[in-house]
């Protein structure tokens, strides 16, 4: 059972929700797909970490074999190749590793080499399996890391901490999930971005519910959005200094406070009920 936690807007509490649910669930897994800014490991501080380097295929040219026919330059949709001053130049940072140039080089002057773009760290925090993708700084796309992370998801309950936004990286993280938890903050920014991920969840036909985080007194535009669209509200988490401090110190709230343990326990229960309900409706899932 894979549960994706997403938000559209950054900083609404995706990591707070996914870390605490994974810590509470018992024998669960936590996968950090926010590879540009992974933070779950700062809370879990996993032990026995095994690091795997993630690479992509980048072309390398044998200048001695290249005759300057420019077929690869013309083929590459990403403008990752140029023939300048009798030399073929390769711009690694824009290469999408499609392998096209290698396929079509008539003189076989191009070969592929592995270029590291980041790592996956796998470890344990108590009974939680913690998997973290980390993109190297200066690299453009973390998609290959996300794909690799999601290729070997363990059986059992898994929480996927998604990147912010609604672009390709988020879609990749959500694609195979069974349920989506949308985390929203009580601002018009939060509501606007909630609408984006709500649309994404609907587009992929994923059952979903909302956690309203950082709730303050006064109107909550995200809550109004949920009511208008008839979206299930799974939990309300108030803005509280105590939770803020635990979070800023990198502590797992449910391991520190019985009150927060109870709060996230009722959220976990709500999620389990929703998922069972959905499974009953759609036995194929």
């Amino acid at each position: 059972m894979k549960i994706a936690v997403l938000s559209g807007k950054g900083g609404t509490g995706k990591t707070l929700v996914s870390v605490n649910l994974a810590a509470l669930a018992g024998d669960a897994a936590y996968i950090d797909c926010d590879v540009e800014e992974p933070n779950g490991h700062l809370f879990f501080k996993p032990a026995d970490v095994v690091t795997e380097e993630i690479t992509v295929k980048i072309p390398a040219v044998d200048q001695g074999l290249c005759n300057g026919c420019r077929e690869c330059v013309e083929f590459c949709k990403f403008n990752a190749l140029a023939y300048v001053d009798q030399r073929l130049m390769i711009f690694e940072e824009v290469c999408h590793s499609c392998g096209g140039c290698i396929l079509l080089c008539p003189l076989r002057a191009l070969t592929e080499r592995d270029q590291p773009i980041g790592v996956i760290e796998r470890g344990f925090s108590e009974d939680v399996r913690v998997m973290t993708g980390m993109l190297n700084t200066g690299e453009a796309s973390g998609i290959p890391i996300i794909k690799k992370l999601l290729a070997d998801v363990p059986a059992g309950l898994t929480f996927i901490d998604c990147p912010p936004g609604s672009a390709c990286t988020v879609m990749e993280s959500v694609r195979d999930s069974d349920y989506c938890i949308l985390v929203a903050e009580p601002t018009i920014f939060g509501a606007h971005n909630l609408a984006l991920v709500h649309e994404l969840a609907q587009l992929f036909g994923k059952p979903h519910g909302v956690v309203l985080n950082k709730c303050l007194e006064g109107p909550n535009p995200s809550e109004q959005y949920c009511q208008a669209k008839g979206i299930k509200i799974l939990a309300r988490i108030d803005y509280e200094q105590e939770l803020g401090v635990l979070n800023s110190e990198g502590l797992v709230a449910i391991r520190e406070s019985d009150r927060y343990r109870a709060l996230f326990a009722s959220l976990l229960e709500a999620v389990r009920e929703e998922v069972q309900h959905e499974t009953a409706l759609d036995p194929q899932r």
């Binding site: 807007k9 540009e36 990403f78 499609c98 912010p164 672009a167 601002t187 971005n193 800023s248 990198g250």
Partner: protein, 297 residues
């Protein structure tokens, strides 16, 4: 024209809140929202008229002609993005296809062709100021290219203003890298938490790799004075100008929800951001950069 880019690494630290305040304080004639994935700046900067809208074409998408396809499977075998579906017939998954053209190249019967695809919408507001923004289509890639288009659109209208203020996106990947190109200075909005510090270090490292001048300010500093001290120490150690501290302020949430900037109301965060703005303008105007043009580490 000096270009100031506001970034944070971590999301939700206050980029848009600070950017909108700066735009008001500077009475900026030119500004842009480069968070094409989840743009919000337009929500707090009221515009009198509708924007000019232009479709944004990302990379083309492949299509398989069912009548011609002989189901030889070569396209699926060669596609590095697993974009070819085979049931009930061979088709291309638009959300996965990156438009590389390998399937078209390997198809022995010419059943595959590439077609232009709309991947988002550029929006240009021309009111009292030039405001360039965009919305990426759900699930699309090529957000970096759209960011480049947002900046190009901004500059195409006006390039003789003193200052352009650009709201960036979270993260360190392609949209952020695209937004860094050509800017004179990056202001990082840091948040005093373990996550915020980790993300700040990653975005600073990224900006350094592209040799951009960097300064830092701390938002919600009073939520963790200890971590704010750590950020100050980090800046000191790395010779990064620290331009000020903004307190956590529930009034800021109220202001945003009334579609107002924090400098439109009298509140603690608004007063603090004025201070940061003054410091930023001084630093941005200082051609020498105070020796902070950082070399690649």
């Amino acid at each position: 024209m000096k270009q100031l880019l506001i970034l944070s690494g971590k999301g939700g630290t206050g980029k848009t809140t600070v950017a909108s305040a700066f735009i008001k304080l500077a009475q900026a004639r030119v500004y842009a929202d480069c968070d094409v994935d989840a743009p919000n700046l337009h929500l707090v900067l009221e515009q009198e008229s509708e924007p000019r809208r232009t479709d944004y074409y990302g990379l083309p998408k492949a299509q398989i002609e069912e009548q011609i396809c002989i189901e030889c499977d070569l396209c699926r075998q060669y596609c590095r993005f697993d974009a070819i579906r085979t049931e009930p017939v061979y088709t291309v998954d638009d959300y996965v296809c990156e438009g590389c053209g390998v399937c078209e190249y390997v198809c022995p019967v010419g059943a595959v062709s590439l077609h232009p695809a709309v991947a988002g919408e550029l929006r240009l507001y021309l009111n009292h100021a030039v405001f360039s923004t965009a919305q990426l289509k759900m699930g699309s890639g090529t957000s970096g290219k759209l960011v480049t288009e947002v900046k190009r659109q901004m500059i195409s209208v006006i390039n003789d203003a003193d200052l352009a203020i650009i709201d960036g996106s979270p993260g360190i990947g392609c949209p952020v890298i695209a937004s860094l190109s050509g800017v004179d200075m990056v202001l990082i909005i840091a948040e005093p938490s373990m996550s915020g510090i980790s993300d700040m270090e990653r975005i600073i490292r990224t900006a350094r790799q592209f040799q951009t001048k960097v300064a830092v300010c701390v938002n919600k500093y009073d939520t963790s004075p200890g971590n704010s001290e750590k950020i100050a120490a980090f800046c000191e150690l790395n010779n990064l100008p620290l331009l000020g501290f903004i307190p956590y302020d529930p009034e800021a949430v109220k202001a945003v929800n009334e579609a107002r900037s924090i400098v439109d109301v009298d509140c603690p965060s608004g007063r603090a951001v004025r201070e940061v703005f003054g410091q930023t303008m001084t630093l941005l105007g200082d051609e020498s950069g105070g020796g902070i043009r950082i070399r690649e580490s």
